[in-house]
Amino acid sequence: MAVTVKFFAGFREATGKIQDSIEGVNNVTSLLDELVRRFGEKLAERLYSSDTRELRKTVNILVNGRRLDFLQKLNTPLKDEDVVAIFPPVAGG
């Protein structure tokens, strides 16, 4: 099964890709693990805080357009043809 991941803003720079197709992942945690395996430390740094190794608060993930905390957070299951968007919301004005 394949999940489509779309990268925006800085995540595009970290991965060098606009989007990617990932197979063999069944939830958001395993997807992020696979992405880090593919794109290395540059992506890991953007995703996780260096001390706690938790997902940074600057990272927003939507699964099929729905925010993760409405679903099951990082345990949110993924299935074939799901679309995951990863972006860092900006705040300035």
Binding site: K6, F8, A9, G10, R12, E13, I18, R56, K57, T58, N60, L62, N64, G65, R66, R67, D69, F70, V83, A85, F87, P88, P89, V90, A91, G92, G93
Partner: protein, 233 residues
């Protein structure tokens, strides 16, 4: 204007419209300028800050001689000089949970020109409560985002961005970035007022000046959202 479907009635609708521009900085400057130039009849501009030298790279309504003046006063002068047929109300206040309803109730559109999420969330809630469209915009560096939020329509700001990104002491912003997003906010406001076109609802536009791309992120309204979830469609 002689754009198809705007016409005389469109211009009349603009003239009758009351638009709040919340924050008159990098986003609010271009947004209010294009609203004024288009003939939006009544603008209320809200900002509690004074002009600083470091603002001038992007807050194009404020000029060197304005440093130290209130932003709303500086902006009112320019907007009314641009179009003497419009009314501009200047509110030199910080937006709080106490005054946000008074400031948004009964207006036609609220444009987000804020530089922080706590105030954006206040406006998002007040606009949902008072059934006012809210045009969200934000920028940093060469990246900008934009989403139009309709009461009883699509998702709200909380649906798209549930948690406030961590505060930073300052945001380096290339001035042209809020220029792009602020213009698009004015365009969305004008479209809503005149009933022309398809608003940016249920999708967040991400502008990345670094590779000069515009992308959309699909956003769904969630029935369990505390802000917009209980509203009738």
């Amino acid at each position: 204007m002689i754009i198809s479907r705007f016409g005389e009635t469109g211009q009349q609708k603009l003239k009758a419209a009351h638009v709040v521009v919340a924050g008159i900085g990098g986003l609010g400057s271009p947004a209010s300028s294009y609203l004024a130039a288009a003939g939006a009849g009544h603008l209320t501009i809200i900002d509690s800050q004074r002009v600083e030298l470091s603002n001038l790279n992007r807050q194009v309504l404020h000029w060197e001689p304005d440093v130290g003046r209130s932003k709303v006063k500086s902006a009112t002068e320019k907007l009314t000089a641009m179009n003497s047929n419009i009314k501009v109300d200047a509110i030199f206040e910080q937006i709080t949970s106490e005054n946000v309803d008074r400031l948004t109730k009964g207006v036609d559109v609220v444009v987000d020109g804020m530089d922080n999420y706590p105030t954006r969330y206040l406006l998002n809630e007040a606009c949902a409560r008072n059934r006012v469209p809210f045009i969200h915009g934000a920028v940093e560096g060469l990246v900008g985002q934009l989403m139009t939020i309709l009461p009883g329509g699509g998702p709200c700001l909380k649906c798209a961005i549930p948690n406030e990104p961590p505060k930073k002491p300052c945001f380096p912003v290339l001035g042209a970035t809020p220029g792009v997003i602020g213009c698009l906010q004015a365009m969305e406001a004008i479209k809503l007022i005149t009933g022309v076109g398809e608003p940016l609802v249920g999708r967040m536009l991400i502008f990345n000046g670094m590779d000069m791309t515009f992308d959309e992120i699909k956003v769904n309204r969630d029935p369990s959202c505390q802000v917009c979830g209980r509203q009738d469609r």
